[in-house]
């Protein structure tokens, strides 16, 4: 009989669940969108019954004797706060929608235990502060005792920024901002102005587009002026000042039907404004941090900005967890529940791995041989690293589904599409044959940790693809398919410890080609979540231009590509 801690991300968007053992080990974490194959899974319960049942079965949970403590990533329903919502930037209906979803999900969290026979009445639920959950998640993946931990997102319990101190692994909030004033909201609005949709999580597209634009001071300064930063705390300026500024900025918006590139200057200026404001929050926060900064919250996904932090403002090192946004809060909630039960004030250090999700179902794997009639199926249980490297060197585009799924938005080699980064047309080929996304968006490079400094300036480890760094100029010419328009790359660094198979693939590819870099993009098609089941993977394989797919120990190649 054992007690497990079930952490639930209860924001109403990006639901996820995480499970921590009685010993404080994180044994499972996965976003609901993966299981459901529904991008962002708006309004879905994070303890969605079949998903929770699947997770419990994968960790060996004994339904007869084990028990679950349920924890949520919000203390309260935001709708309980009787304040008028701000609708001056994003439509007020979006904010209302979010509040209603969050209220319902947060209130009903844990009800699935009734359905699963794990509770006889609605379980008592432990509810934790939203930004504290972000901070605990972020600190749990940072192997340092002392740091500043900044949480920046769209909205927290009181405001959208919280600064914490981590001292000897004990986390204490230093301050938080109150009221409206949010970099997450600003970036979401910028996303809309560029002609994208923040509700679809298209902030990435703005960041990618920014590289093609020129920062225009009049746009950047107007955007920056929307927010005041007082000792780190963010606040939108008074309405009388905000409305004319917003009206001026709207004149630069991309209208429907205008070409994408007409928003490039706006995107570049918006990214520059974000960096200025984030710098203002951080600039006096490094005291006592030993040079370590831990970032959490959805804004910690701004990899372009993240890559500029180390070496400035008193910080030497940056740590970002694999899932800094609201999905990741499931981990924080589960850990806080464990800390409460065990009465430990210290945030544990988790194993440095993002591979925390589901494995491919055995039954599905056993059926792969049946594909023999339509594809070439072979055993890849030994030496698959070199076999995949060989295929890549031949110009093939290869899907990979091996081991446990990554937790967080990035595919890091276990649910990835891999390709050769050397041909200049590889980006267009992948887009045309597989991904179908906008041609300007960059693909990411995987590089061995020991090689980073050979290829990038300001080399830093980036095991979760959290930061963008500048390629060394001479090197960039060797891998044009993974060099963005501004000469940068959002790299994943791999080592024999953190990603042994992927490290092997990159090494073998390097031996074959002289270029130890592999292109890595998520195993999905545009608009869909990363594949979850072998059937999902095979559907992409069969309906796209993928040449081959590795599913666990089986290599499946299209006959025509053989």
């Amino acid at each position: 009989m054992a007690l497990f801690h079930l952490g639930l991300s209860t924001s109403g968007h990006d639901p996820a669940l995480a499970i921590v053992t009685a010993g404080g080990e994180l044994v499972f974490a996965e976003a609901s969108e993966r299981f459901l194959q529904d991008k962002r899974a708006w309004g879905i319960a994070p303890d969605h019954v079949p998903h929770l049942a699947s997770a419990l079965s994968q960790i060996g949970f004994d339904f007869g004797s084990d028990t679950l403590a349920v924890a949520t990533s919000w203390k309260k329903a935001k709708a309980e706060l009787p304040v008028e919502l701000m609708g001056d930037l994003l439509p007020v209906t979006d904010a209302l929608w979010l509040r209603e979803l969050q209220a319902g999900i947060n209130t009903h969290a844990g009800a699935s235990l009734l359905r699963l026979g794990l509770a006889q009445q609605m379980p008592e639920v432990r509810r934790y502060d939203h930004h504290l959950c972000h901070a605990v998640t972020a600190c749990a993946f940072a192997p340092v005792d002392t740091a500043s931990c900044l949480v920046i997102d769209g909205e927290g319990e009181a405001g959208a920024v919280s600064m914490f101190d981590l001292r000897e692994r004990v986390l204490k909030r230093r301050w938080r901002s109150w009221g409206p004033g949010s970099l997450g909201t600003l970036y979401a609005w910028l996303t809309q102005l560029c002609g994208f949709d923040w509700r679809l999580g298209e902030e990435w597209k703005v960041m990618g587009l920014a590289a093609y634009g020129t920062v225009r001071p009049e746009i950047r300064d107007a955007l920056t002026s929307l927010l005041e930063v007082d000792r780190g705390r963010l606040r939108f300026v008074e309405r009388e000042a905000l409305l004319p500024l917003a009206a001026r900025i709207r004149t630069f918006a991309r209208a429907a039907g205008e070409p994408l590139m007409s928003a490039a200057d706006l995107a570049a200026s918006g990214q520059a404004a974000y960096a200025i404001l984030a710098d203002r929050i951080l600039c006096e926060s490094a005291d006592g941090s030993d040079g370590n900064l831990i970032l959490g919250g959805g804004c910690a996904l701004n990899s372009s900005y993240n890559g500029t932090i180390a070496g400035r403002m008193g910080y030497d090192r940056l740590f970002v967890p694999p899932a800094p946004a609201d999905d990741g809060n499931a981990v924080g909630a589960a850990l806080l529940s464990w800390m409460e039960t065990t009465k430990t004030p210290c945030v544990p250090v988790l194993a440095a791995t993002p591979y925390l999700g589901s494995v491919a179902a055995t039954a599905a794997l056993s059926r792969l041989d049946a594909l023999g009639g339509i594809a070439r199926v072979s055993d890849a249980s030994a030496g698959s690293e070199d076999r995949v490297a060989e295929l890549l060197a031949e110009g093939k585009i290869v899907g990979v589904m091996r081991g446990r799924a990554e937790f967080g938005p990035r595919a890091l080699g276990n649910r990835s599409i891999l390709a050769d980064p050397r041909p200049a047309d590889m980006k267009d080929r992948i887009n045309r044959l597989v991904k179908g996304r906008e041609p300007y968006r960059p693909f990411a490079p995987v590089v061995c940790e020991e090689d980073v400094a050979d290829w990038f300036e300001r080399a830093q480890p980036s095991p979760y693809m959290s930061m963008t760094l500048r390629w060394r100029e001479a090197r960039a010419r060797q891998v044009p398919a993974v060099v963005h328009a501004d000469g940068t790359g959002r790299l994943q660094t791999v080592s024999p410890d953190n990603a042994p198979w992927m490290h092997g693939v990159v090494r073998c590819f390097g031996e074959r080609t002289g270029v130890p870099i592999v292109l890595n993009t998520s195993f999905n098609i545009m608009g869909k979540p990363i594949v979850h089941s072998p059937e999902d993977a095979l559907a992409v394989f069969m309906t796209s231009g993928l040449s081959a797919v590795v599913i666990e120990t089986t290599l499946i190649e299209k006959s025509a590509a053989a």
């Binding site: 309260k76 309980e80 706060l81 009787p82 304040v83 008028e84 009181a158 938080r176 109150w178 009221g179």
Partner: protein, 83 residues
């Protein structure tokens, strides 16, 4: 909590509310409700933040709305500071 720090809290609250309602602090009484004070709900939340910052005490954003009067809210904060 000492009488001095409680009175510091009370006078800080008067100043904060007065500033946000554009009245003078001596017109702010502890037996007044938020609506008597003419305090907008967003300003009430911001006052909570100022109290949290100044007195290093955790304040729930919705807390001020749970009390009938400013004084009741102040006393609950004062009790927590004394604990």
């Amino acid at each position: 909590m000492t009488d001095t720090s409680e009175s510091r809290l009370f006078s800080f609250l008067r100043e904060q509310v007065a500033q946000r309602t554009k009245t003078s602090a001596d017109q702010i009484r502890m037996d007044m409700s938020l609506s008597d004070l003419g305090l907008q709900s967003i300003d009430a939340v911001l006052v909570c933040g100022e109290v949290e910052d100044r007195f290093d005490v955790e304040v729930d954003p919705a807390e001020i709305f749970q009390y009938d009067t400013l004084g009741d809210f102040a006393r609950s904060i004062a009790d927590r500071m004394a604990a």
